[in-house]
């Protein structure tokens, strides 16, 4: 079995949100990084992927669009709002149930369950694996799949879009265990 261990020391777990609603122009599309996460990718007879992320470790890296530029103070305030009012400390965990590895061994179709907002929902996504140990891929997570209304402001005229993009991009050495 070959195991890849991934985390913030060797890559990034990025979360992107976009704005919606009648006053969407006032809001920002956000690029955030999760600063505390851990994942293992096992390849072999029974490929498996497991990931956990600390819901209180979101950091806003960039906000685009909007009427006013997003400063450091606002970025910190958004991260706090996500922690206090959106995720509220609920665990973020993904565990694969099935992984298809193509003959080249470089493309993986991953199926599994994501635990978020104290609910588990199926998620599928593709991962690519490079010779240099780079693991990259992304999934779309919908608020509505978890029965959660996206965060809104301005009397509901400005809100976060239902779709949230999650991307992992990490490079690590494999640990062979024969």
């Amino acid at each position: 079995m070959t195991r890849y261990v991934l985390g913030p020391d060797c890559g990034t777990l990025t979360v992107r949100t976009s704005k919606a609603g009648a006053a969407a122009k006032a809001g920002h599309n956000l690029r955030m990084e999760v600063t505390s996460w851990h994942a293992t990718l096992d390849l072999g007879d029974q490929p498996a992927l497991a990931l956990t992320a600390d819901p209180s470790s979101f950091r806003v890296v960039e906000g685009t669009g909007g009427v006013m530029p997003l400063g450091d103070e606002e970025k910190a305030a958004i991260a706090k709002t996500i922690d206090d009012e959106v995720l509220k400390g609920s665990a973020i965990e993904f565990n694969s149930s099935h992984i298809d590895v193509d003959p080249s061994g470089k493309h993986l179709d991953v199926e599994g369950e994501l635990k978020l907002f104290d609910k588990r929902q199926p998620v599928t996504f593709a991962l690519t694996l490079s010779d240099d140990g780079r693991v990259a891929g992304g999934a779309t997570v919908k608020h509505s799949d978890f029965g959660v209304k996206p965060y809104s402001a301005l009397f509901g005229t400005l809100k976060v879009a239902d779709d949230v993009a999650v991307e992992v991009d990490a490079t690590t050495r494999s640990q062979d265990d024969d």
């Binding site: 122009k25 809001g27 006013m68 970025k75 402001a153 301005l154 005229t157």
Partner: protein, 142 residues
Amino acid sequence: MIELDHTFSTGKPVAYNWEAILDLDRVIPRVEGGSVTERTSPDSAKAEIVVKMGAMSMKFRGTVDVAERDDEAHRALLRVKSRDVGGQGYANADVVFTVEDGGGTIHTAAQISGKAASMGEGVVQTVLEALITDFTQKLATI
């Protein structure tokens, strides 16, 4: 210029509604984010409103005056003049209240410039509509 019309219900007699509408200390805080910072006369106040847009917010500071009042018709014009704190924009409005038994009507004519206006008139109108609708709901308990 954005013009909007709303109705509100209080379930109270006309005399009560008339007195309440003219009391700036009671009316202004019922606008979400609004507060009186200083009473300058029985018919005027310095006030500010903080419009929260998630983590961002815009603050307007200015005056609210009872510019006209018709005690027989129970019709009052409240004139709002404010400037965007830290910006170049302004938000002014003439708000006409006409009250009767049980509630009344509000006609708003607003002019907004600066960053808020840069969202486009359609967006400003939508937000203003939502702000005043929320205000009319809060007037129910004035």
